[in-house]
Amino acid sequence: MSMANSTAKSERAQLTRRCVKALLLSAAVFALLGAADPATRFNEIGHQMMCICGCNQILLECNHVGCPDSDGMRNELMAALNRGDSDGLVEQGFVQKYGPTVLAAPTGKGFDRAAYVVPFVALVLGFGLIVLVVRSWKNRPTPAIAGGLPPIRGAELEQFRDQARKETDL
């Protein structure tokens, strides 16, 4: 009996491992799909950068003819992609030339990481706080009934609750 149990357990563990591997593999495949296309990369990286002319627009969305900067920046981006530079290298080159404000969002490095971490820390803390609040509310003593009668609980309460629902439901 115990041998059969352990075999079933190991089969289950194997199945779980296979599922995890399959999921990771498919995630990797999905992540790589389309990554090699230069037009897609141009579009993606171009939307991660700002035009520096002062229009405060995303590089590929800067729409005024005669902008002193956006055409040159787009050409530089295309040239870097044609050279085969990685995304990180392209961004690094732009930051060196135009300063950190050329990136449309903070990077995930150094203090910039805080931009992304803080909202999620707030989310976790918020959830924690709600759990604490819910616990304290659940543990709050039930208000005493006038006349000292004990409150109805359990199945009897459920019965009354159902009755009330039936009677008041539209």
């Binding site: 498919s26 495949v29 999905f30 799909l33 389309g34 939307h47 991660q48 700002m50 229009c55 405060n56 627009q57 995303i58 969305e61 800067c62 729409n63 005024h64 003819v65 005669g66 300063g99 950190p100 404000t101 050329v102 990136l103 449309a104 969002a105 903070p106 150094g110 203090f111 910039d112 931009a115 992304y116 803080v118 909202p119 999620f120 707030a122 989310l123 918020g126 959830f127 706080l129 709600i130 609040v133 819910v134 509310w137 659940k138 709050r140 039930t142 009934i145 006349g147 009668l149 409150p151 109805i152 309460l157 009354f160 009330a164 439901d169 539209l170």
Partner: protein, 717 residues
């Protein structure tokens, strides 16, 4: 005329000061006068005490009647403030129509050839005028509030004093820091600088008033909340009084925010409607906090819970509206919106500080009054769904605030600014918004106190199956069917988000529809009416609940519109006579391009024939204008809107070498859904404001009851 305007502003300040101080004195005396009590003791002592108490009683009566009279004069002064501010506003508009360029504000924001509607809009087009307009709206809200004081004289008196306090701040600003009637130095110019070209668009005549009605309107629930806190007001009556104010204000703010988005879409010419600019964020933050308040306030009404939280939320909403103004006027955060930067930022900082301290003092002094009356019975209940709903709304508010301030924080910490644009918000805010959408589906169907697993299954099984089926359908269909089809989530994260948003929207829609259907079915069974008539009756019986569902449905339609952004296309091309540009299923053919001259502006435009499936479906005329007075250019994109997508064409300029126009075409998917969704949201809000129809009275045959001992039932309430 400028003298009349200046005098009206000074008079308004004096009246507001009187309304505040006299109202405060009246409330202080009223708070002290009822404390006289008759002591117990021997008859002689009682007689002596009674005689003293009669004397004190008459003093107290005198004091009370005196303080009531003072309070009444304060109320009248508050009402008169509206008259004075209204006069100042009328004078400013009149000066704009008279082209009185001796007034600096008129010179900077108007010109002779400006069309009449925009001359009217001059009132809120610049810093000084918009502050005057803010003050006017606050005075108007105060006017209505003070006229309706009989609903609850004491609470209204507190709210009136608080409103007067806020009004004093704006009138001090107008009189001493940003005077709209300041006179030009030297010779009076023949013509003005003109209105900012971006503001010369019909929506700009109504967008700022809507937005300001929303911003200013949240002062009213805040004033009532703070008043109730100060006077330790028993019960939830202040919430019932302010419920309509809050909903109307929220509707104005919603309208203002989306009109701003529509204006950006129609005028700025970059093809989008939301750029996460600090000014846009400033309008979104109070909207998010106000929406959280509208939800959580139901917990207080129904269950007497979240009293402290609601107090904080209403304060945060008011405070964020002021903070947004501070952000955009102080120059602390850079924005593309061209508000003049001046020293008024310091005034706002002080005001924010004072309001925060005032609120904190009264909150900590009286917070014992705000204890919850009930306990939570189950995590699977309407109560907990409201808690999570509030968490997510507040988190979104915090994220927007954090993103808006982060460039400044980064500068302080690491010495350099960073840009926090759309990619940041897409990464951080979209997942939270999707979670919120799940709660929008789940929350309304959970019962108060506790929901059983069976009930969950019954309510959610079919909507969930429907949502999954739609998601699979959208994944498997070919992309050639249209924008939202052929959504392969593994191709791009934006496709994943879009698919999730659409599937969850379907889930919300089905749960909302099932609520209407189940309620309608019960009424239909009892009355024999048709299903539609039964659903109408159901809605009329509880307009707030079913109006709320319609608002949720509107939100879902808006979300589907947002999800369309993943499929947007754009193309830029120089186009001579007969040149073609193809984008998606459309082909644009340049038939002509020319220029034109009007008194206020000169324009260049192109005439394009639009073909779809080889058949001409219309013509488009994108325009670029050059405004003579301000010497600035502005684009007027031509937008051909459809349910599936918008064809959006911008005249970007002329090639200096050959004079050919350079055009940019955008194919923006599902944008129309956003504007439709907003109308539905507003319709739902209006419906929620309609009073409920009385429930039908059933007369039953009398039943003989036997006298039995019945034990009381504890229901937890």
């Amino acid at each position: 005329m400028a003298e009349i305007g200046s005098f009206a502003l000074l008079l308004a300040l004096a009246l507001s000061l009187y309304s505040f101080l006299a109202g405060l004195i009246a409330l202080l005396f009223q708070a002290q006068s009822p404390q006289i009590a008759t002591p117990l003791g021997s008859p002689s002592l009682r007689r002596a005490a009674n005689s003293a108490s009669t004397h004190r009683g008459s003093t107290s009566t005198l004091l009370r009647s005196g303080s009531e009279r003072i309070g009444e004069t304060a109320r009248h002064a508050g009402i008169a403030t509206f008259g004075a501010v209204f006069l100042a506003s009328i004078v400013l508009v009149f000066c704009a129509f008279r082209d009185d360029f001796s007034i600096a504000y008129i010179f900077h924001h108007s010109n002779r050839d400006l069309p009449g509607a925009y001359k009217f809009a001059v009132l809120w087009s610049g810093q000084e005028g918009s502050l005057l307009f803010w003050s006017l709206l606050l005075a108007a809200y105060g006017f209505v509030l003070r006229l309706r004081y009989k609903t609850d004289a004491r609470l209204f008196a507190y709210a009136s004093v608080i409103l007067a306090g806020v009004q004093i701040f704006f009138l001090l600003l107008l009189n001493f820091a940003a005077h709209p009637f300041a006179i030009m130095q030297g010779t009076i110019p023949a013509d003005g600088n003109g209105l900012n070209p971006l503001l010369q668009y019909p929506e700009m005549v109504i967008h700022p008033p809507m937005l300001y009605l929303g911003y200013v309107g949240f002062t009213v629930p805040f004033a009532f909340a703070l008043g109730a806190l100060i006077m330790k007001y028993p019960g939830e009556k202040w919430i019932q009084i302010t419920r309509r104010w809050t909903m109307v204000t929220w509707a104005f703010l919603t309208c203002g925010v989306f009109l701003g988005a529509h204006w950006a879409y129609s005028v700025l010419g970059w093809g989008g409607y939301w750029g996460w600019d600090p000014v846009e964020n400033a309008s979104l933050m109070p909207w998010l906090a106000g929406t959280a308040f509208l939800h959580s306030v139901m917990m207080q009404e129904k269950r007497g819970m979240l009293k402290m939280w609601n107090m904080w939320l209403v304060f945060a909403t008011f405070w964020l509206a002021i903070l947004g103004t501070f952000l955009t006027r102080s120059g602390i955060i850079s924005s593309v919106h061209a508000f003049a930067q001046s020293s008024i930022g310091d005034w706002f900082a002080w005001f924010l500080g004072i309001t925060l301290i005032t609120f904190l003092i009264f909150f900590f002094k009286n917070k014992s009054h705000l204890r919850s009356e009930h306990k939570l019975e189950s995590l699977v209940s309407r109560e907990s769904s409201f808690l999570f709903n509030n968490l997510l709304f507040v988190l979104l508010t915090f994220t927007v605030l954090w993103g808006t301030w982060f460039p400044k924080i980064s500068e302080l910490v690491q010495g350099n600014k960073v840009t926090v644009g759309a990619p940041f918000y897409n990464r951080v805010a979209i997942p939270v918004a999707l979670l919120l959408l799940i709660l929008t589906a789940v929350g309304p169907l959970l019962a108060w106190r506790k929901t059983s697993i069976e009930s969950l299954k019954r309510n959610f099984l079919w909507p969930t199956i429907g949502a999954i089926a739609v998601a699979i359908f959208l994944m498997l269909t070919p992309q050639s069917w249209g924008s939202a089809f052929g959504l392969k989530p593994w191709k791009d994260i934006s496709y994943f988000y879009s698919l999730m948003a659409i599937a969850l929207s379907v889930l919300v829609t089905l749960t909302v529809a099932s609520e209407f259907y189940r309620g309608g079915r019960v009424i239909s069974k009892h009355t024999g009416q048709g299903m539609f008539a039964s659903m109408v009756q159901l809605t009329h019986r509880n307009t707030r609940r079913y109006g709320g569902y319609i608002v949720h449905f509107g939100v879902v339609v808006v979300i589907i519109g947002f999800a369309g952004a993943a499929f947007n296309l754009d193309k830029e091309q120089e186009m001579g006579y007969g040149d073609k540009m193809t984008i998606g299923p459309y082909t644009l053919v340049c038939r002509s391009y020319t220029d034109d001259d009007a008194p206020n502006y000169a324009s260049e435009w192109a005439l394009l024939d639009v073909y779809k499936g080889g058949k001409q479906i219309g013509t488009m005329t994108p325009v670029r204008r050059f405004y003579k007075a301000s010497q600035q250019t502005s684009t007027m994109p031509d937008i051909r809107s459809g349910l599936n997508e918008d064809l959006y064409v911008v005249f970007e300029g002329l090639n200096p070498d050959n004079g050919h126009p350079i055009l940019k075409a955008h194919l923006n998917a599902l944008v129309m859904w956003i504007w439709m969704g907003v109308w539905i949201m507003l319709g739902g809000t209006v419906l929620a404001l309609v009073p409920n129809a009385p429930a039908p009275v059933r007369v039953a045959a009398p039943v003989r009851l036997e006298r039995t001992e019945v034990a009381p039932v504890a229901t937890g309430d």
